[in-house]
Assembly symmetry: C2
Homo-oligomer: 154 residues x 2
DNA sequence: CTTATTGCAAAATATTTGCACAGCT
DNA sequence: AGCTGTGCAAATATTTTGCAATAAG
């Protein structure tokens, strides 16, 4: 999916439920989908303000909530600095490892894990809506090149 | 492990690192380990205050942080009312399903899932420290007996 | 023109911290 | 006695909300 198609998908989603497609929403979606980093609401606000210094924090939160509800972004609880969001629209589902030594967020996908998640929910008579698997790991390398940065690696 | 042994384990842990074993810490640990519900810091405070109305919220948070650091309790992000903690000392690891329809928290354990989590971390060269698997599910039953209660079922 | 959306500031929520006093060891 | 831990209240951090002004349809 190209960036243009992603924006169109969001616009269509909004209009379909009678929401207006405003400059702010377009900008916020554009910026959120333009990065593949895991960003906080505040970082997203900063990035948006580089383009339009008038955007308010409240609008970023409100739009982020809509994008999350639509399943276009997903929030991840990293334990500090509030939740971090990531682009999922048009991307395959993946899970995360957080390295407690260097702070790195590593993404991974395992089809067998996915199958088991579905199976467990079904066994208990539930429909699986969404799932978050977070592995807290340790690289145990004091010289790790990612140390104390919040870089993402796929 | 009996409740007495659990308290002794906590006391030993505290004393080993030069922390004092105070009335408040004993009470908080006792109450936290006396329930198998998933409780918030605030609910734990309430339960403690039924025994000793002087206990402060700050002490509950501080003690909870120590218990979590020791691995005696674990926090779970439920999306509202802050984190919910649960007793893990002396219990087997398990994961959670949160029902978005009725609010129920269902615990489950799957050895195959556990094995895969270890394998994935190892594949990426990490040591697995801890892991949280949260399945958001839907019971899709409007008359669910658990509706809008935060009951726990194993 | 109508009404959803915005920006602002204030409120709400959850948690942490500074400090004087209490109480373990 | 000495120093850690406690309670209180205030601070912090993050997110949400009320409302008058603005702009999308």
């Amino acid at each position: 999916m190209t960036p243009e198609e992603e924006l169109e998908t969001v616009e269509r989603y909004m209009r379909e439920r009678g929401h207006r497609w405003t400059n702010q929403r377009r900008l916020i979606a554009d910026v959120a989908f333009g990065t593949h980093e895991h960003f906080t609401a505040d970082e997203l606000l900063d990035m948006c303000r580089r383009v339009d210094s008038q955007v308010s924090r409240a609008t970023v939160y409100r739009t982020l909530a809509m994008l999350e509800e639509a399943g276009f972004v997903e929030g991840l609880d990293t334990g500090e600095n509030g939740r971090r969001f990531e682009h999922v629209l048009g991307h395959e589902h993946h899970d995360h490892m957080l390295c407690q030594d260097c702070g790195r967020i590593v993404e991974f996908a395992d089809p067998e894990l996915e199958r088991l998640k579905e199976a467990v929910a079904a066994q208990h008579g539930f429909r699986l809506v969404s799932h978050t698997l977070k592995l807290v790991v340790a690289c145990q390398n004091p010289d790790c090149e990612f140390r104390r940065q919040d870089r993402t690696e796929s």
